[in-house]
Symmetry: C2
Subunit: 154 residues, 2 copies
Amino acid sequence: MNETTITAQPGTPFIDIVREFDAPPALVFRAWTDPELVPQWLGASGTTTTLIEYEVVPGGRYSYVHRDRAGEHGFRGVFHTVVAGERIVQTFQYDGRPHDVSLETLIFEDLGGRTRVRTHAVFGSVDSRDAMIESGMEHGVRDSMARLDRLLTR
Amino acid sequence: MNETTITAQPGTPFIDIVREFDAPPALVFRAWTDPELVPQWLGASGTTTTLIEYEVVPGGRYSYVHRDRAGEHGFRGVFHTVVAGERIVQTFQYDGRPHDVSLETLIFEDLGGRTRVRTHAVFGSVDSRDAMIESGMEHGVRDSMARLDRLLTR
């Protein structure tokens, strides 16, 4: 069973997420970037995800809405770097906190048929990073990674 | 005489730049975003700046080249947030170090006919921030701010 590691060192503005998948980088990258596939895994269990925009090219924008029984939450960002199967650099914003934009670097590491995805997120301040942790993002990330794992091995 | 303050606290991934201008936010914002005006102030003295792209809208891209006697250097990024006269959130990359992307938040504060521009930049690591400081960016920033000051009071 693959596990998701989430690290947020106290006093830093960083969050690091590491997850391995039993599928090659080309497949993991496709699941991460194909607008047909993303709603099938992104979000906590019990959440419906609707993509509004999702154009994975430098300068492309994305936005999506998570809906659950409690309500809905919007997210958005732009893509700075896109190297197919290897690397994405993107901004990230939760519309409920539009002044807390973060920058995420995703690296798809080839483990020989398997893939390690490393996400490094950096926030504008330690407080902004702490607010994201306190929002309960950890639960959503772990659920999303487990759902993606199941999609890839289907 | 307005002065440029550049702060880079040791051990953090942040750079903060503060500068006041003797012009209202609408004018400062225009000089910052109009592709005709940007090459007139962006870059150290003795540098020629050529914009390749410069589309200041969310998802818009920018790229430009600084040329001096020593050679040329390319820079690029994408705009995440654009609120005219108030706020810009953008990514920033020096093409010589494409893995050191930073995220910049610019705030145009209205001082009543004058403007304070605050730039907060955050890097993926302290080392990446330190490398940017060591590249001599401070000289380029101070010259650019002084050139913009002269353009605005012309």
